[in-house]
């Protein structure tokens, strides 16, 4: 059973359409991440799901109810805002219990629920403070406490971690993941951070320009990006895009890039239709390994960036810069020639005109 399904939702502000015909499904207990650059419509979509913003068309179904005309408070959802949106004049206790208070839950069961949520989030000692007296991470926990205390059908998170510093962000990310595992409630989570998307999501919808580019599990998104946008948006350092021409050489598909030739094996079946045409090869930095092979590129080492576990190497291959993630032991020197072999099974080919994956 799907917790959430979105059918043909559109949204326009005046003559500008910011969401085009969005279709989504989220299975019960799933964790859907709406991922995209700013302005892609992901937050608008979240607002429409929450009911804070009316859609211009289409249906939002939560559980088995179409909620298009249902007030946010009756959608049985809870939301965590980027700004946390804690009520500054109320104590943490009242903030957490506010939704219950408004629903006229009696005091003792309210206190119980607040206590449980606070225990879960380890904020029991903060209950009598005002939000102004809390740190960013503590506020974040309170905001989550306010969301979970009501036991909703669906959690909505709107970039909840972007106001935190890097270390705390990682901590809270883990916290959210743990919370989701423990509570099993479905989540829709908006972010522009691909790491959050990859680590948290059971399903990721990559959005751009009001359109879902790809909706899949994180692994698929990473390994088989639907198009060059998704491929480029996910992964750090980003995927290398190598322009070339596809040819059939002795019964094997090969990619010519300048003087380099990559032998392709195990790439998509549809590729043969592109023989003789220009294509773009998308190669993840970590699919390189040092040494020659049937599919290898040779270039001059430009920059070497040791990160500890890995060494990032930027290689100049006939004028095109290629990033490669090599083992930490590799320490080439800039200016040296270097040959890297490619694991072509992890390689993606894209149509340079449409940007779509072949």
């Amino acid at each position: 059973m799907a917790t959430l399904s979105i059918k043909g939702v559109r949204k326009s502000f005046g003559s500008v359409e910011v969401l085009h015909n969005i279709d989504l499904e989220l299975e019960d207990g799933g964790f859907l991440v709406l991922l995209g650059p700013s302005g892609c419509g992901k937050s608008t979509l979240l607002s429409i799901i929450a009911g804070l913003e009316p859609s211009s068309g289409g249906d939002v179904v939560i559980g088995e109810r179409t909620v298009n005309d249902i007030h946010p408070k009756d959608r049985n959802i809870a939301m965590v805002f980027q700004s946390y949106a804690l009520y500054p004049t109320m104590s943490v206790r009242r903030n957490i219990g506010f939704g219950l208070e408004m629903r006229r839950v009696d005091t003792s069961s309210r206190e119980d629920a607040i206590g449980r949520a606070a225990d879960l989030l380890q904020i029991s000692h903060l209950l009598d403070r005002k939000p102004g007296q809390l740190s960013g991470g503590q506020r974040q926990r309170v905001a989550m406490g306010r969301a979970i205390v009501r036991n909703p059908d669906l959690f909505l998170f709107d970039e909840p971690l972007s106001n935190l510093d890097a270390k705390l962000r990682v901590e809270m990310r883990t916290e959210i993941k743990r919370l989701h595992d423990r509570l099993g409630t479905s989540v829709v989570y908006v972010t522009h951070d691909q790491v959050e998307a990859m680590t948290l999501g059971t399903k990721v919808a990559v959005m751009k320009g009001g359109v879902i580019q790809q909706l899949a599990d994180p692994q698929t998104i990473y390994e088989q990006p639907a198009n060059m946008f998704v491929a480029g948006f996910i992964g750090s350092p980003t995927m290398n895009f190598l322009n070339g021409t596809l040819e059939n050489q002795d019964g094997k598909l090969v990619l010519h890039h300048g003087e380099e030739t990559l032998e392709l094996s195990g790439v998509a079946k549809g590729a043969s239709a592109y023989v003789g045409k220009k294509v773009v090869a998308g190669i993840r930095p970590e699919t390189f390994s040092k040494g020659a092979g049937p599919s290898a590129l040779t270039g001059i080492v430009d920059v070497v960036e040791p990160t500890g576990p890995d060494t990032m190497v930027v290689l100049d291959v006939g004028g095109q810069m290629i990033s490669a993630r090599l083992g930490s032991r590799e320490r080439p020197h800039p200016g040296e020639p270097m040959t890297l072999s490619v694991d072509t099974t992890a390689l993606n080919l894209f149509d340079p005109e449409t940007g779509d994956r072949i």
Binding site: L52, P72, K73, Y87, M102, K130, G132
Partner: protein, 320 residues
């Protein structure tokens, strides 16, 4: 604090003759001491003393003296608490005090309520609100005197357009002399005052409303708070400081300015709209009794101070 700057300078290099007499050097040295701060404050302190404290103290001492401009024969001796004693048995003072309380409480209540409604409406940023805002703020830009005369004409028992309207819609049987009847004079004056000054609240509250993050209302929507609850539990608490400041300013303004009542009723009919400020004004400029007028002003001053103190206490604006 152990080393003194002079010794540092002296030890670093020998002083030339010019150094010894250079005024800039002395100022420079002075600026390193802790007295510098007070020296910098001195000009503004003197200005405040001259402009604020001196007149206030002068007013205070006036209230302990005989000072009747049209009676030079009485002299200007100290009379201690004579004026204050007179006040205790002065019927008009007590009537004025009561009327002041009614005038201020009713006017502030109406102005705040209407001002808040207007501010909430303007804060919705619906189309046309910019033009509407100008209209709503318009009364406040009118001088009190102009507003007073305008309303005196509109409420006129013979020519007044308001009487005309009320009779036409059937609310009134005949033209009413609003300011001639003690049961309506105060109410009519309060409505004029409220009409004139509610934009003051609109302006301040609107500024306060703009500072409330919209996310709070979204969160409250999801939490299930209706508009009344949102107003009561989010908007008003968030505006607490602005409200306190606005109310105190407005109360001070209302207690201190007699001009509107002077124009509309002169305190009449009878004493039904006599307020303290008007009484003090008349005592000073009709009776020329500046001593008693001074004592009345001192009482107003003390009452206002007490009000502000109690109000700030009760509204707990200092707490956060």
């Amino acid at each position: 604090m152990t080393s003194n700057p002079q010794s540092i300078m002296a030890s670093s290099r020998p002083l030339s003759t010019w150094d010894r007499i250079n005024p800039a050097r002395y100022i420079g040295e002075l600026s390193e001491t802790r007295f510098w701060m007070y020296l910098l404050l001195l000009p503004s302190a003197l200005l405040i003393m001259g402009v604020v404290i001196y007149p206030t103290l002068y007013g205070f001492q006036l209230s302990f003296r005989e000072m009747r401009l049209n009676r030079p024969d009485l002299g200007t001796d100290w009379v201690l608490l004579k004026h204050y004693q007179r006040m205790l048995s002065d019927q008009i003072f007590w009537i004025s005090l009561r009327n002041t309380a009614v005038w201020v409480t009713a006017a502030v209540t109406i102005e705040f309520s209407v001002g808040l409604i207007a501010a909430l409406a303007l804060n919705r940023n619906l189309p046309g609100t910019k033009v509407l805002a100008v209209f709503i703020l318009l009364p406040f830009f009118l001088p009190n005197v102009v507003a007073g005369h305008m309303w005196a004409l509109m409420l006129d028992p013979r020519l007044g357009v308001i009487n005309d309207l009320l009779v036409k819609v059937g609310l009134l049987g005949g033209y009413k002399a609003w300011f001639a009847d003690p049961s309506t004079a105060m109410a009519a004056a309060i409505i004029v005052e409220a009409w004139h000054s509610f934009p003051f609240f609109t302006l301040l509250l609107l500024a306060g409303l703009k500072g409330i993050p919209t996310d709070l209302y979204k969160a409250a929507d999801i939490d299930g708070a209706g508009s009344i609850s949102q107003l009561r539990l989010i908007t008003l608490p968030m505006l607490k400081t602005v409200i306190a400041a606005a109310v105190i300013l407005r109360v001070i303004g209302l207690v201190n300015s007699p001009d509107l009542l002077l124009i509309l009723t002169s305190g009449g009919p009878g004493r039904s709209t006599q307020v303290l400020s008007l009484y003090a004004f008349q005592t000073a400029y009709k009776d020329f009794n500046f001593g008693y007028a001074g004592a009345l002003s001192v009482i107003m001053f003390i009452l206002l101070m007490m009000f502000a103190w109690v109000y700030v206490r009760l509204s707990k604006v200092n707490q956060d």
